[in-house]
Symmetry: C2
Subunit: 480 residues, 2 copies
C-alpha cells in the first residue's frame, strides 16, 4: 500500500515535469557508503521532487544504501563477490585502523591513509568488476538510456560505466586523498604556497617551515601516494574499454565537478569553470520542537534521546555549542545554524576540517585521547561565553546564507544542465588534452633552454675561433 | 520639469528600497570612456532601479560620460588639467596609432600597445591627480559616506580613492594588457600551456610552436611590458597614502572582480572565488519593429538608418549575419541573439575576440586592408548558407541563456554583497599576503635544493674522508 502511494506520487511528479518543461531526465547513480550516501541522497531526493527518474546501482554488499529507506528512488541491484557482512566488517576495521593512525605525525597519517585507500581500492575494484563484467546488468543499463551518471569518485567505477554507456558524468566530491583526483583528473591547480595539503592541518597563511613541509608533502603525495593502486585500475579500465587508458584519464571525462565545500569553510583557492562549490547544500532551516516526557534519571540540564537529526538539533534556538568529531556534514550544519564548535577530530578530513574552523575562529580543538574532563568543560565555556566564537561562526553562517542561488539548487541546475546539453564541453579546460610535461610547459622550457645553451655555445666557440685567428695573425705579423 | 520628474522617481525608488529591505547603498563610480562607459552604465542603471544611489566622478574632460544622457544617475564633477578637446583628440590619435600597429606582427602590436598604454597612463595619472589632490572634492566624497566604489581598472585611480575613503572596491574589467592587472593584482593564474596571451590570437589548443611563442610572450609581458608606467603611479600612490606602496598592490585590494566575459566567449581557464564572469550582461531580449518610410535611393535589400541600437538590430528575427569589428560588446550581442559573424577586427582585444569566435566556429575572419569585395560577399554567403556557423553560434547562445542567474543579476548581487558585508574578505586568496617569490615557492625550492646540495656535499666529503682513512690504515698495515 505504501509503495503504491509512493509509486503514484512518482508518476504524478514525472507527469508534472513532462507537461511543464519536458526536461525530465533519467539519472543513474554510483553511490558511496555511510555519510557520503546520506549526503548524496539529498540531491537524489531533490532530483526526484523535480520529476527526474533516479536509479541507484546497488551492490548486494551495500550497507546504508537501502531501497526501503528511499521509496522514491529506484534501485538496480547486482550480486557482489563480497558479502555484506565482510564489507561492513572491512569498513569497521578500516575505521579503527585509521583512527589509530590519525593520532601520529603527518608521515604516519599518510602511510595509514595510503594503506586504507589501498585496501578500499582493492575491494572497490572487485565490486566494480562485479558490475561491469555483469553482461545482463550492463545490457539493461544500456537499454535504459540514462541521461547522466552521478557519482562520488572516492569509490571509482562510475567513470568506466559512463564511458561504456557513452553518457555524461557528474561528480559529487568532498575531497580526495592528496587532492589527487581533483588535480590529476580535474586539472585543478593547487599552488603549494597558499593551499595547504590535505591532512597537513595547516591554514592558508603558512610560516616558512610550514611551506617547506607543505611542499614536501605535495611532492610526496604527487609522486608516490597518488599511484596507490592505480596500476590495477588502469589495467582493468584498459581491458574493459579495449584501448590503453588510465583511471585518472577516464575520471577526467567528468563534465561537472560538484565540490561539497564553499568559501566559508574552505580557504580561497583557484578553481575551474566546471567546478561548482555546493558545500552545505544538505542543511535545512528547522522549526524544531520536542515535547516528550522528561527523563528523571539524568541531571536537569542533560537530555537523552534515542536519535534526533543533527541538523534539527543544531537548528534549535537553545543550542549554544556543538561538540563534534569534525565530519564535513556536521561542521556545515553548525555553520548553517551559526553554532560554535568544540572539535574532537578522529580521522580522514576531520582534523583538517577542525583546523579550518579554528583558523576562522569558529571552534576550539581538543584531543580526544589526552583531554581531561576540565579541558572539555573549559572549551565549552570558552565557545559559549566568549563572543569571539559566536561572532565568527555567525559571520560564516551569513556567508553560507547570502548566495545568489542556494547550493542545492546549483547542484541540481548543473546536473540538469549536463542532461539538457549532453555534457558541459564549454566548461572543460584544454589542459585535459595536454600531457603532464606539456601542461607544465616542461617541453617548451626545455626547448628554450636548449636554444639559449646552443646560442651560448656557438657564441663562445665563435669568439674562441676569432681570438685564435687574431692571435695567429699577430704571431705571423711578429715573425715577418 | 524633467529633472523634477526624475528626482521624484529616484526618491520613490529609494524610499521603496528603504522600506522593503533596508539595504540601499551609495555607490561611487570611477568611469572609463567610450564603449566601456556605455557598458558600465547598464549596471549603474540597474543599481538605480533597485533603489541604490549612484554617483559618478566625472572630470571636466569627460567625453561620453554625460549627465544629460543619464538623468537617474548623480554626477560629481571636478576640473581636469586636460581640456575635453585635447582629451578627445588624444583618444582619436591613439586609435589611429593602434589600428595601424595592430596590422603587424605580435612584437609590433605589443610595442604599439605599450606606447598607447604609456600615453594613456600619463593622461590618466594627470586626471587622477586632479581628483585626489582636489581637497574640496575629497572632503565632499569623505562626507558622503559611500558604501562601495565601482570602477573599470583600465584607467586607474579608483583603488587610490577607495583606500583614502576607506571603502570597499569592486572592479568591472573586460581584459587588461597582457592580463597584467588580473595576474599581478588579482593573483589569477594563467598557465601558459593552454591560456593564450592577449593579442596572440591563439586559441586554447596550441601547437608546440605556438606554445613556445606563447611562453616567450608571457615572459616578455611579465618582465617588461607590465612595468610600462608603473613607477610614476607607484610614486604618486605612495605619496598620497603616506606609505610605500605600488599600484598593483593597491589594485589588489579590490574585493570583487566582475569580468566581462563568460565561457561561451572565453576558453575555460582557472579562476578565483572573487572573480565573477558576467560577460554579456548588457544584452537584452528585443521586440523590435520599425515601420518608417522605405528610402528609394538604395537597392531594395539595403536600408539606411541614422542609428539603431546594435542589440535591437541583432535581435531582429530577419537578421542573418553580423559584420563586426569584433568589439566585445557587439560580439556578445551576436552570441546572445545567435547571429553568425564576419569579423573585420581593428585593434585592442578585437583580433583576439574574432580569433575566439572563429575557433568556436561562429565567425569568419577577414582582413579589412587586404579583402576584396568578393571576399566579403563570400564570407557573408558562408556564414549565412553554411549551417555550421549558425549551429555553433546558436550553441553559444544557448550557453549564454542557460545560466542559474542572469549575468546582470550576478553583477548587481556581488556589488550589493560587498555593500552589505563591507567587503568580501572570505573570497580573497591568501596569495595576496605573499611576495612574488613566496607565491611561486622559490624560497622553499631554493632552501630544499640547498639542503640536497649540502647533504650531497657532506656525503661526498664523508666518503672521501673514510676512503682516505682506510687507505692510510692499509698503508700502515702494509708497512708493519
Amino acid at each position: 500500500n505504501m509503495s503504491l502511494k509512493w509509486l503514484s506520487l512518482l508518476l504524478l511528479l514525472q507527469l508534472t515535469c513532462y507537461f511543464s518543461s519536458g526536461r525530465c531526465g533519467k539519472v543513474l547513480v554510483w553511490p558511496m557508503e555511510y555519510s557520503h550516501w546520506i549526503n548524496m541522497k539529498i540531491i537524489l531526493e531533490e532530483l526526484v521532487t523535480r520529476g527526474h527518474e533516479v536509479t541507484v546501482l546497488k551492490s548486494s554488499a551495500a550497507i546504508l544504501v537501502d531501497p526501503n529507506k528511499s521509496p522514491t528512488i529506484k534501485f538496480e541491484s547486482f550480486p557482489a563477490s563480497v558479502s555484506q557482512e565482510d564489507y561492513e566488517n572491512f569498513f569497521q576495521q578500516l575505521l579503527t585502523e585509521w583512527i589509530q593512525g590519525a593520532k601520529h605525525s603527518f608521515w604516519t597519517k599518510i602511510t595509514t591513509a595510503q594503506n586504507i585507500f589501498s585496501e578500499l581500492s582493492d575491494v572497490s575494484l572487485k565490486i566494480c568488476k562485479d558490475a561491469v563484467l555483469n553482461k545482463k546488468l550492463m545490457t539493461k543499463l544500456q537499454e535504459s538510456r540514462f541521461d547522466v551518471i552521478l557519482a562520488d569518485p572516492i569509490i571509482p567505477c562510475a567513470e568506466l560505466v559512463a564511458e561504456i554507456l557513452n553518457i555524461p558524468l557528474v561528480y559529487s566530491l568532498r575531497i580526495s586523498p592528496g587532492y589527487s583526483i581533483e588535480k590529476f583528473s580535474g586539472k585543478l591547480p593547487f599552488p603549494p604556497s597558499y593551499v595547504p595539503v590535505v591532512m597537513s592541518e595547516f591554514n592558508d597563511h603558512m610560516t616558512f617551515t610550514e611551506r617547506v613541509n607543505n611542499m614536501l608533502y605535495v611532492v610526496f603525495l604527487d609522486f608516490w601516494f597518488q599511484t596507490f593502486n592505480e596500476k590495477k585500475w588502469n589495467q582493468f579500465y584498459s581491458e574493459a574499454l579495449g584501448r590503453p587508458t588510465t583511471i585518472f584519464e577516464t575520471m577526467g571525462k567528468a563534465d561537472m565537478w560538484l565540490i561539497r565545500n564553499y568559501w566559508d569553510f574552505e580557504f580561497p583557492r583557484p578553481l575551474l569553470p566546471n567546478f561548482e562549490f555546493i558545500g552545505g547544500f544538505h542543511c535545512k532551516p528547522v522549526l524544531w520542537k520536542y515535547e516528550g516526557k522528561k527523563p528523571d534519571t539524568l541531571g536537569p540540564n542533560t537530555r537523552l534521546y534515542k536519535w534526533i537529526p543533527q541538523n534539527d538539533l543544531l537548528g534549535h534556538p537553545q543550542t549554544k555549542a556543538f561538540i563534534t568529531h569534525g565530519g564535513a556534514n556536521g561542521v556545515y550544519e553548525a555553520i548553517y545554524h551559526g553554532i560554535p564548535m568544540v572539535g574532537l577530530p578522529l580521522f580522514g578530513d576531520q582534523p583538517d576540517n577542525i583546523a579550518h574552523m579554528t583558523a576562522k575562529g569558529a571552534a576550539v580543538r581538543l584531543d580526544l585521547d589526552t583531554m581531561s574532563r576540565t579541558d572539555l568543560v573549559n572549551a565549552l565555556k570558552q565557545v559559549i561565553n566568549n563572543p569571539f566564537y559566536k561572532e565568527n561562526v555567525m559571520r560564516l553562517s551569513t556567508i553560507q546564507h547570502d548566495q545568489p542561488v542556494k547550493p542545492l539548487d546549483r547542484a541540481v541546475f548543473w546536473i540538469e544542465f549536463v542532461m539538457r546539453h549532453k555534457g558541459a564541453k564549454h566548461l572543460r579546460p584544454a589542459a585535459h588534452d595536454l600531457t603532464w610535461y606539456q601542461y607544465h610547459s616542461l617541453d617548451v622550457i626545455g626547448f628554450l633552454l636548449a636554444c639559449v645553451a646552443t646560442a651560448a655555445f656557438a657564441l663562445t666557440r665563435g669568439c674562441l675561433f676569432c681570438c685564435r685567428k687574431l692571435a695567429n695573425a699577430r704571431k705571423k705579423a711578429k715573425r715577418q
